[in-house]
């Protein structure tokens, strides 16, 4: 996995919330709160290089409402896609069952998708995706890494090729520009000790 050349950035959303906006409040609610948290995360990401992989950790967040999910998850994905040269990949972790509804709803509404760790070591694709994208992503998730020689076997037909390109374009998987190998994002994130 050395060709992936990522040093994942771990961002604790609960800590960002406390530090940024509301030291007295523990919930990620209201749109201004979500906006402030997103901007703090984006500021943190401005200092990284041309490519980054961020682990956005919701473990310490008890409540997240739809407004905050839209600001912190959906708009973060949108902003970084529109951000020009910087190539940002995200994995959202600590996405517990009570968070999922809100996050899935805002992603669906904006036709976005993301990789989320729903339990330690268990990753899922959340949001808008086609059945073929889902199938390919899960296959990649099982394998962890696919070499260029194994690609035909993975993608199957033209539909599979388009789905793979879509996953890569939407930054739901990573293709190494040096080796051409395709990595599942889950294998590229490391939790801090």
């Amino acid at each position: 996995m050395t060709d992936a050349s990522f040093d994942p950035i771990w961002i604790d959303v609960g800590e960002v919330l406390q530090r940024t906006v509301a030291s007295l409040y523990s919930s990620l609610v209201t749109r201004p709160t979500g906006r402030a948290v997103r901007m703090a995360i984006e500021t943190q990401l401005q200092t990284v290089g041309a490519r980054s992989l961020s682990l956005i950790d919701f473990s310490e967040v008890v409540i997240i409402d739809f407004s905050c999910a839209d600001e912190v998850v959906a708009k973060l994905l949108m902003d970084t896609r529109e951000g020009g040269a910087h190539e940002a990949f995200f994995v959202f972790c600590g996405v517990h069952e009570p968070h999922r509804d809100q996050i899935e709803a805002v992603l669906d509404r904006r036709r976005l998708a993301t990789v989320a760790e729903i339990e330690p070591g268990t990753f899922q694709l959340l949001g808008a995706r086609t059945p073929e994208e889902d199938r390919l992503w899960m296959e990649l998730e099982v394998r962890g890494l696919v070499s260029p020689e194994q690609l035909d076997q993975l993608i199957g037909d033209e539909g599979g090729r388009l789905a793979l390109e879509s996953l890569l374009d939407r930054r739901l998987a990573f293709r190494s520009p040096t080796s051409g190998r395709i990595h599942a994002l889950s294998r590229l994130v490391r939790r801090p000790n």
Binding site: A22, L24, Y25, S26, S27, V29, T30, R31, P32, T33, V62, I63, I64, D65, F66, S67, D70, A74, K75, E97, P98, H99, D101, Q102, A105, V106, R109, R110
Partner: protein, 295 residues
């Protein structure tokens, strides 16, 4: 002086008629006569506050509130924080004596909502109390407290983002033994702002032409998720509240101006759309969440 009798029972079934009466009062100071009030729920309490606010605005004079004779009702209003909230709205006879310490049996006292800080307070406050009520009284899973808090957050933000005027929220659990044979939680959120039609008019009235009015504005927001914001991510709060309320087999209705729209389950005979009400300002939202039906 107008004398307006407050009905003996003031809840989600009677509050519309009461607010209509307030709107129809003459341009003189109003005395709200609540002496015969025997039963009041969050819709009734918050309804009294918006009624007093609108009467003051309309008549240019602070209305007077004659409190209930029933000591039980007085005690309940005190525990719900009614007299604290009413202090700046009504002329009250010695309201200080009525402001008793808050009690732990209340799910959410009447809380003013004027800024996002208030929404944080509401969410933090209910988290400590709602868990036990939702699980023990309604039979909901332990994680339901999150969805319940999200509902409150979104519905309160509706006031801040669309009303451009202050509002109030309150919630309490009841045993609807006769009406439903189950416990329920009743949530009321009301404001005296510009209402759904006022909020949406600039962006959406043209496409409706002559049909534009309170009921079409409510349908646009409630059924289709329209909002005055061009951002496609906006307007989902009410849609998601509806979805969660449906999952819990609950009822949600919203009055704004002359219409009230609702999503009602089989156990509730409230019509899904009521028109022809008086043009009362703002928006008045009622949510009823019933206990899970026995298997």
């Amino acid at each position: 002086m107008n004398v307006l009798p407050v009905p003996a029972s003031l809840d989600q079934h009677t509050v519309d008629a009461f607010l209509d009466q307030v709107w129809l009062t003459k341009d003189e100071r109003t005395l709200f006569d609540a002496r015969h009030l025997r039963w009041v729920d969050p819709n009734g309490m918050v309804g009294l506050l918006v009624a007093g606010t609108v009467a003051a605005r309309k008549q240019g004079a602070m209305p007077r509130l004659e409190p209930p004779e029933s000591t039980d009702v007085i005690g309940y209003l005190s525990r719900m924080g009614f007299f604290e909230a009413a202090g700046g709205i009504f002329e009250l006879e010695d309201p200080g004596k009525r402001a008793k310490p808050r009690s732990s049996d209340v799910l959410l006292e009447i809380t003013p909502v004027a800024s996002n800080v208030d929404v944080h307070e509401v969410v933090d406050r209910v988290q400590t109390r709602a868990g036990a009520i939702l699980t023990s009284k309604l039979g909901y899973p332990a994680t339901a407290v999150v969805q319940f808090s999200v509902i409150l957050s979104e519905v309160c933000q509706n006031i801040i983002e669309h009303a451009e005027a202050p509002g109030w929220v309150a919630a309490q659990a009841y045993n609807w033994a006769k009406r439903l044979g189950r416990d329920v939680v009743v949530i009321s959120v009301m404001d005296v702002g510009r209402g759904f039609r006022g909020s949406l008019s600039d962006e959406h009235s043209a496409r409706y032409g002559d049909r534009w009015g309170d009921s079409t504005a409510l349908e646009a927001a409630f059924l289709h998720g329209l909002t005055r914001f061009p951002d496609s991510g906006r307007g989902q709060g009410i849609q998601q509240i509806r979805r969660q309320v449906r999952r819990w087999d609950g009822a949600i209705t919203i009055r704004s101006g002359t219409a009230r729209i609702g999503q009602v389950p089989e156990w509730d005979d409230t019509p899904p759309l009521v028109e022809g009400l008086q043009p009362f300002p703002g928006a008045q939202i009622s949510i009823v969440l019933p206990a899970r039906a026995p298997e």
